[in-house]
């Protein structure tokens, strides 16, 4: 860590991990509710557990992205953060607002929460993933603006690197597309149409720029490969991401009442979305093979390579599985979607967040470059437990989804929804058990922060 103000990232990272735990716990609750419908009835309905599960994920990823930006932007720009106090202030506002929102979800009925937060004045509640009360959304906008101002000014006064510019582009896009969460047309087609501008253009557009920038930063730091080479790759990856991702939005427009050409546009362009992810995999392994030094933080390197592989599998391959309109006709909204959602979010965004946390946290805790050997080994156990669990969760959900599409939507006499749900219950049980393993992996991972704190950093053979 070269600049004092980078330290603010620590707050964001810790809060992100706390929310990560909450996300997993609520995931386990709703996973159980799939097979034991009255679990926690009437205190915790499924829809509330789901809301907390997804909202906690989004908020903790945002926290991690912000933390990543506060850490890497000063280092790239070679200057202190423009306004460190603002970063701290915004953290507390964001964290308290997130806490209050979750409390609202848990303690009040959703309609009471809407009334309490005066949703009538500017109705924005009630849409999947964007369930937050309007006032929370406004809070997010304020935090995002302050954040962009802070980051933007820092970049402006310092060295302008490609990584910083790509990151800034991604973060700006993130803020701009969030504004569509305030646009709530009465026409249901338009409503869904623009809803995807937030949801899709985040995860399959601007977030990928953030992912690319963070990955490039960590790879430069850990491999010592020339910045020029890495920047070149970053350029072609983001160009391809934008070409395929933006028009690829069409794969959400197949069946919502939009014109027919979206079936073509959506199919063709989104079928190409795996390409940038594949490039990212090739890129990461290439850089690691060409490395000029052996960085003592092996765990961070593992996370970086893991991101490149799992993002390709989860976002690329599992996305492709059901992206073509003729296939999606049968699989739309089935457990296939859930399978893709889990591996894509974990593989791309959870893992990139954990990559930057793994890389930065040792320095933020006052070490020179890496944690002790014992801590790193523990962290890698966490990596493998969580990653293997998510692979199995994905496989079980895919099994469930294939069976579901087959029984419920194909053939002469399709089986009713609830009957099918009973038939695929075995897969849900397996998924829940694997989910418990994931939680164990998460605990192991978190415990790595507390072991071997007084032990020295591992020695590495200095490359020539």
């Amino acid at each position: 860590m070269k600049y004092k103000s980078q330290k603010v990232a620590r707050l964001y990272f810790i809060a992100a991990l706390v929310l990560f735990v909450a996300q997993i716990l609520f995931g386990l609750i709703m996973g159980l509710q799939y097979v034991m419908g009255d679990f926690l009835f009437p205190y915790m309905p499924f829809n509330v557990a789901r809301m907390v599960h997804t909202n906690a994920l989004i908020v903790w990823l945002l926290m991690a992205f912000m933390g990543a930006a506060y850490y890497l932007v000063p280092e790239e720009a070679e200057t202190e953060l423009a306004m460190p106090w603002l970063a701290t202030l915004m953290f507390w506002i964001f964290f308290l607002a997130a806490g209050a929102t979750v409390a609202g979800y848990l303690l009040l009925s959703y309609s009471d929460l809407a009334k309490l937060t005066m949703n009538d004045m500017l109705p924005t509640m009630g849409r999947e993933f964007l369930e937050q009360p309007t006032i929370t959304k406004l809070g997010i906008v304020v935090v995002a603006l302050a954040f962009l101002l802070n980051i933007g000014l820092t970049i402006l006064k310092g060295r302008k690197t490609v990584i910083n510019l790509v990151l800034l582009m991604g973060l700006t896009g993130l803020a701009v597309f969030f504004l569509f969460s305030f646009y709530n047309p009465t026409n249901v087609v338009l409503d869904k149409y623009y809803w995807w501008w937030v949801v899709h253009l985040w995860v399959e557009g601007v977030w990928e720029l953030i992912l690319g920038a963070i990955l490039a930063f960590v790879l430069i730091k850990t491999t010592g490969v020339d910045r020029e080479v890495i920047e070149k790759w970053l350029y072609i990856i983001i160009a391809m991401t934008l070409i395929t991702g933006i028009i690829g939005t069409g794969h959400h427009y197949y069946w919502i009442g939009t014109p027919e050409y979206w079936q073509w546009w959506g199919s063709i362009f989104s079928a190409m979305e795996p390409i940038p992810f594949f490039m990212m995999t090739v890129f990461a392994f290439n850089m690691v093979n060409k490395r000029r030094r052996n960085h003592p933080n092996k765990a961070a390197m593992l996370w970086a390579l893991g991101t490149a592989v799992m993002a390709f599998l989860g976002a690329g391959v599992w996305g492709f599985l059901h992206t073509l309109a003729p296939v999606n006709y049968y699989t739309h909204g089935s457990q296939i979607t859930a399978a893709h959602g889990h591996m894509a979010f974990y593989g791309a965004y959870v893992m990139i967040s954990l990559t930057i946390i793994s890389y930065a946290m040792p320095m933020l805790m006052g070490r020179t470059a890496a944690n002790s050997n014992r801590s790193q080994v523990r962290e890698m156990w966490g990596f493998w437990l969580m990653t293997i669990s998510i692979v199995f969760i994905t496989l079980f959900l895919t099994g469930a989804g294939v069976l579901q599409a087959f029984l419920q939507r194909m053939g002469e006499n399709p089986t009713p929804f609830m009957v099918v749900q009973d038939k695929i219950a075995l897969f849900y049980w397996l998924r829940e058990i694997t989910g418990v393993v994931f939680l164990i992996g998460l605990i192991v991972y978190l415990s790595s922060f507390f072991v071997g704190r007084n032990e020295p950093e591992p020695e590495v053979a200095v490359a020539e």
Partner: protein, 197 residues
């Protein structure tokens, strides 16, 4: 002497195509998108042969001819630009590049006139499946022509600053390769959409 031997070697036998390898990865990715688009066109036509054959007659083949010639010519100019810089003739390189960009403008103008004609008749993406493909394919290509022109302009600008020479001209070759790709795609698009029936 040693240097010219290297150049010779480069010209005779190389393991990698001219230009930065990164642009070639990008070119391959772009080409695959077009390949999928072409195949989709051909297989959709299978179910609407009469519709496709009928509305193909409404396209302006003369404009397409002019545009094909414009792109081939500009591709040729770019080849000459690369040859010029290899002969250490930066001025010539810039002139050929500007000529190529000029041909790109011819393409854009002619294509825009075609679009204007169709739009004035009320044709849009939802008119029928043929027009959906015609407009999508050509417009996606249209965007690539613009992108290619921007790249060529950037190369010309750097050449003007004296960034390239007989020994170092990867940038020129990189831009050239991208532009040839734009040409290559059109060479298939033109017969497929305008002529084959």
């Amino acid at each position: 002497m040693a240097e010219s031997a290297v150049v010779e070697q480069n010209d005779k036998e190389r393991r990698y195509p001219p230009g930065d390898l990164a642009i070639w990865i990008f070119i391959l990715a772009e080409l695959s998108v077009f390949a999928v688009f072409f195949a989709a066109y051909a297989f959709t036509r299978l179910n609407h042969v009469e519709l496709f054959n009928e509305y193909q007659q409404h396209l302006d083949r003369r404009s397409a001819l002019i545009n094909t010639l414009a792109l081939i010519t500009s591709s040729y100019f770019v080849v000459r630009a690369v040859a010029a810089i290899k002969a250490d003739n930066a001025k010539g390189c810039i002139r050929w590049l500007l000529a190529a960009i000029g041909m790109g403008f011819v393409f854009l103008v002619v294509k825009s006139m075609e679009y204007a004609h169709h739009f004035s008749l009320g044709v849009n993406l939802s008119t029928n499946t043929f027009y959906m493909f015609y407009l999508s394919l050509t417009f996606f290509h249209f965007m690539h022509v613009m992108m290619g022109m921007i790249i060529l302009a950037a190369v010309a600008f750097k050449a003007k600053q004296g960034a390239y020479s007989a020994t170092e001209h990867t940038g020129v070759e990189t831009g050239a390769s991208y532009w040839h790709m734009v040409d290559l795609v059109w060479l298939i698009l033109f017969p497929l959409v305008y002529v084959m029936r």
